[in-house]
């Protein structure tokens, strides 16, 4: 009996040891068992054996086999390569099975990691700085991913999606800068969302539709009801005007009751339908119900230090998206700015750029590829164009003391110089704020195309895995009009093709300067 136990214990040793000495060891055990009898003897024996096992088993596993030690020296005999065969037999079936399991496990882990890493990269720009509605971080970090997302959006956009936004997603837009930033373009309500982290959910969601493009979703009455109830609860909780929220809730329920929703079995179409129904009662263009094919995440991560570091790095590489800063003939300053980057990172470069144009007689801001960014930077840039603090309308923030430009900027000489802004259908978000406010203040002449139409003041609220609603939570004072550029875009003063805008602007500036 005890011999059997010891034979089993011997199996703990590596096979090369068992083969060489297993039998001997067993013999030795037998001898000792025969000689060391009695209770004390047996206990002694087993104590010895177990101690021995504890030390020698690990030692045996660490022992390098002599065949391997000699291998490098014996590689060739008379010029013929020589190979060592460590095992003379085919592997056992169990070993093969175990090998299969481990391989499957490893392959699975790697593929999961790959997916995760991909996701991580794609989402990073949104999570590290949630307030960015603009594009700079995204385009800086993963253009190709953003490009894919952009493509996804084109396809996933709801049929009744706003005309202007659709315009901004014009498939013929092929410039990298543009397609990159499309990654951040979400259905209006979702893209909105600047100061709160929630929007990233929607952004994530739309990004992920890319992956789940082929999955269809059909809704039945119960599911529709659940979404409607969810939307109503969210509206009542978050919409700034409670009576409007009640009105919209009533409308949604009435439409449901009268069977208007019955035809909407597709999630996206249903989301669009509800959006329409809400806007019928309350024409708030910042309000939108959004559908995402992929599950919306419960919550998003905080911006990480690493993300910020990457953003800094990317901004440094791109000169903070100040693509061109130069003085054209006739002393016309020209600044091509492709986003409004975070002033905490890019203020120095912005200051330097403006300083280098300080002596220009006119200034042209080329925002044709500008997809927006930090409202703070928009205000920083605008400050150079005034000699006194000017009210600076921002649809995403309530009017506060911060709503005035920090003008005059010390040493700045541009406050009274003619300003021209080049626009395109791709000009978006923060860039449109720059255009809109300067146009309304009659401080700049806009030349080019109608802008994209992203004003987006909404905060995204999750209803369930697939539905969410973008609700504006602020009520800023717009001194110019009841509407801003949301969805309609900013109309230029002089309509020309984006490609011709610079030429037009230069001519205008020259003739204006000539008149002086």
């Amino acid at each position: 009996m005890s011999e059997k136990i010891y034979a089993l214990l011997l199996r703990l040793f590596p096979s090369h040891f068992r083969e060489a000495y297993g039998e001997e060891a067993l013999l030795l055990f037998r001898d000792r068992a025969r000689d060391e009898r009695g209770f004390v003897g047996t206990v002694w024996l087993w104590l010895d054996l177990l101690t021995d096992l504890a030390f020698s088993v690990p030692a045996e596993y660490f022992r390098v086999q002599p065949a391997l030690i000699g291998a490098p020296n014996l590689r060739r005999v008379n010029g013929m390569p020589l190979f060592f065969i460590l095992e003379g037999q085919a592997p056992r079936f169990g070993a093969l099975l175990l090998g299969c399991v481990f391989t499957l496990g490893a392959v699975g882990t790697i593929s999961i990691l790959l997916t995760q890493v991909g996701t991580y990269r794609t989402f990073r720009p949104w999570t590290f700085q949630p307030q960015h509605a603009g594009s700079a971080p995204s385009s800086a970090f993963n253009p190709s991913a953003a490009q894919r997302v952009g493509d996804a959006q084109r396809e996933s956009r709801s049929p009744q999606g706003s005309a202007n936004s659709a315009g901004s997603l014009n498939p013929e837009d092929s410039e990298p800068a543009d397609s990159q930033s499309n990654g951040l373009l979400i259905e209006d309500g979702a893209e909105s969302s600047r100061l709160q982290p929630q929007p990233s959910r929607a952004q994530n969601a739309v990004a992920s539709t890319n992956r789940a493009m082929n999955r269809g979703a059909t809704l039945d009455a119960a599911e529709r009801h659940r979404v409607i109830v969810g939307a109503i609860v969210t509206l009542k909780e978050h919409y700034i005007f409670p009576d409007m929220a009640r009105k919209m809730a009533g409308a949604l329920l009435a439409h449901e009751k009268s069977g208007d929703d019955d035809a909407a079995t597709d999630g996206r179409a249903f989301a669009a339908l509800l959006t329409r129904q809400m806007r019928e009662v309350n024409p708030d263009k910042h309000l939108e119900l959004v559908y995402s094919q992929d599950p919306l995440p419960q919550r998003i991560g905080e911006p990480s230090a690493e993300g910020l570091a990457r953003y800094r790095e990317a901004m440094k590489e791109q000169n903070c998206t100040f693509e061109k800063v130069k003085v054209l003939p006739r002393n016309i300053g020209y600044l091509k700015l492709n986003s409004f980057p975070d002033p905490s990172v890019c203020r120095q470069i912005a200051t330097a750029a403006m300083a280098s144009l300080n002596h220009a007689d006119a200034i042209i801001f080329d925002l044709r590829d500008n997809r927006g960014g930090e409202p703070e930077m928009v205000a920083v840039m605008a400050a150079y164009l005034f000699d006194h603090p000017e009210y600076w309308y921002n649809p995403r923030e309530n009017t506060t003391q911060q709503s005035w430009t920090h003008s005059p900027v010390p040493g700045n000489k541009l406050a009274d110089k003619p300003v021209y802004i080049l626009t395109s259908a791709r000009t978006f978000s923060g860039a449109e704020q720059f255009c809109y406010d300067l146009k309304m203040l009659k401080r700049a002449t806009l030349i080019g195309e109608t802008t994209g139409g992203g004003a987006h003041a909404g905060v995204f609220h999750r209803i369930d895995e697939h539905f969410g609603v973008g609700i504006p939570e602020v009520n800023p004072i717009n001194p110019y009009s009841n509407t801003d550029w949301a969805e309609t875009g900013v109309e230029p003063d002089i309509k020309v093709k984006a490609a011709d805008a610079l030429e037009t602007a230069v001519k205008l500036a020259q003739s204006k300067l000539a008149k002086k």
Binding site: E24, A25, L27, D48, D52, E60, R63
Partner: protein, 116 residues
């Protein structure tokens, strides 16, 4: 020159070499001889014993000898081990080394009795 595995010589290996100085022994014989020559202080378990034997064989300090002529019929085949000349040399130099270590101890009168 690659570092030798048995440098310094572990006490187990030294005792095994010593145990084989007199006659060829099999595993159990070595174990008993070692226990005897150390007054029972060193009891080699099979794992330690055979892994030491393996190392000593690899270093050619001991060698395996064929079954003894006197093996009784019906008894299991046992492997006997014999000290090689290299093994004997190593055992001697180790013993001398230890003796060298003892010399100052003896001079300082730390050791009692008539040890070597």
């Amino acid at each position: 020159m690659p570092k030798r595995k048995l440098d310094p010589l572990p006490s187990t290996a030294f005792q095994i070499l010593l145990s084989l100085a007199g006659e060829d022994l099999h595993g159990y014989g070595i174990m008993r001889q070692v226990a005897e020559q150390t007054d029972g202080r060193m009891r080699l378990g099979p794992g330690t014993l055979y892994s030491s034997i393996q190392t000593l064989l690899e270093e050619k300090l001991i060698e395996e000898v064929d079954r003894r002529e006197d093996a009784r019929p019906g008894q299991e085949r046992r492997r006997y081990y014999r000290l090689t000349s290299a093994g004997r040399k190593l055992a001697r130099s180790e013993a001398e080394r230890l003796a060298d270590l003892l010399r100052p101890a003896r001079a300082k009168k730390i050791l009692r009795g008539d040890y070597v």
